[in-house]
Amino acid sequence: MTPEEEQQLKRARRGRNIALALVLVGLVVLFYAISIVKMLD
């Protein structure tokens, strides 16, 4: 693997990790909101 390819690999992996983190945070917020709404019912 050339240095350029390694850079590209790291960039892609970092992007995916950030996207996954955002999805997980989003799910946490969503489940929290759903739980509050259900408990208030």
């Binding site: 693997m1 390819e5 892609a12 992996r13 992007g15 995916r16 996207a19 969503l30 759903i34």
Partner: protein
């Protein structure tokens, strides 16, 4: 799936954009919109958080079905100009990853819908994903030129799911909304198929223009647009909507028929630019947005929809 025409998967790992592209974002925009309109036009009230969750689940489910569709059709997509740039034909990610991503989105969306919104909405969502990924993609599309007619059912589910998320039961009105998109799909898609015909023939997909010929397809586009005209008026005629929707349906569906007429009564020559077909396809997208907008505006301004 042997004899693959796909390129060897690259060493570079997939980017998040590749996964995003798997969900067919452009198709999803129409799905989200019609689902939201079904939810907003339904009689009754839903907590905004749960309403948001319902639309999110419809979107995730559609994305999962889209990913499963691209997983299954990667070989076909590679042979068609319109789809060759998709992430799987480009070798951006592994096929099994696309499959797993699709399954995860599908199962996750149905589970969240069931827990947060309701079991009936979740069941219909599951049915719609199964309908698109299995009945349409795997079973019908490669086998029959009626694939689009029957497969149109898959795209017709979102407003029904949105409506049921609010009311919790199925009545005539959401079924009519389903019927509108069901009748809209064949002329919408066949207009597209007329100007990308050569691609489908090459990939061995029995699209109507390839199998039944152009003349027959053009006739059928007109027939469906006339049926659509009648079906789109039904929500108004049964008293489920007010005059705003009624007038919008008459005008929009009338225009749809008007755009179909030149398509129906002409023959494409050599090097034809297919302008009437492209116009009809473009209008058909606008049509659906405008008709469902009218449905929601009607509901809020005239306060009808009591008969559901």
């Amino acid at each position: 799936m042997t004899g693959s025409t796909l390129p060897i998967e690259s060493q570079v790992p997939a980017e998040w954009r590749d996964y995003f592209a798997l969900t067919k974002p452009r198709v999803m925009s129409l799905v989200v919109f019609t689902g939201l309109c079904g939810l907003l036009a339904a009689p009754g009230h839903i907590n905004p958080v749960l309403g948001f969750t319902a639309v999110l689940c419809i979107a995730l489910g559609a994305g999962g079905a889209g990913a499963l569709n691209q997983w299954w059709e990667a070989d076909i997509d590679a042979q068609m100009k319109r789809t060759a740039k998709r992430p799987l034909p480009q070798g951006h990610l592994r096929r099994t990853d696309a499959r797993d991503f699709g399954v995860a989105l599908s199962v996750g969306s149905v589970a969240i819908m069931g827990l947060a919104v309701g079991l009936l909405a979740a069941a219909i969502l599951a049915l719609s994903i199964f309908y698109y990924a299995v009945v349409y993609t795997i079973w019908l599309k490669p086998r029959t030129p009626q694939n689009i007619v029957i497969g149109g059912g898959a795209g017709a589910f979102p407003p029904l799911i949105g409506w049921v998320a609010v009311t919790g039961d199925i009545t005539l009105m959401p079924v009519l909304l389903f019927a509108v998109i069901f009748m809209w799909t064949p002329p919408h898609f066949w207009a597209l198929a007329l100007f990308v015909k050569t691609d489908y023939a090459k990939a061995g997909i029995p699209m109507m223009p390839v199998v039944a010929g152009e003349a027959s397809t053009r006739r059928q586009i007109l027939i469906y647009s006339i049926v659509l005209f009648v079906v789109s008026l039904l929500p108004w005629l049964i008293g489920g909507t007010g005059a705003i929707y009624g007038v919008a349906a008459v005008v929009l569906s009338g225009l749809f028929v008007a755009f179909s007429l030149p398509v129906a009564f002409r023959r494409a020559g050599e090097d034809d630019r297919m302008a009437p077909e492209k116009r009809l396809f473009g209008f058909s997208v606008l049509y659906l947005f405008a008709l469902f907008t009218a449905l929601v505006v009607d509901h809020y301004l005239l306060g009808q929809g009591a008969l559901a």
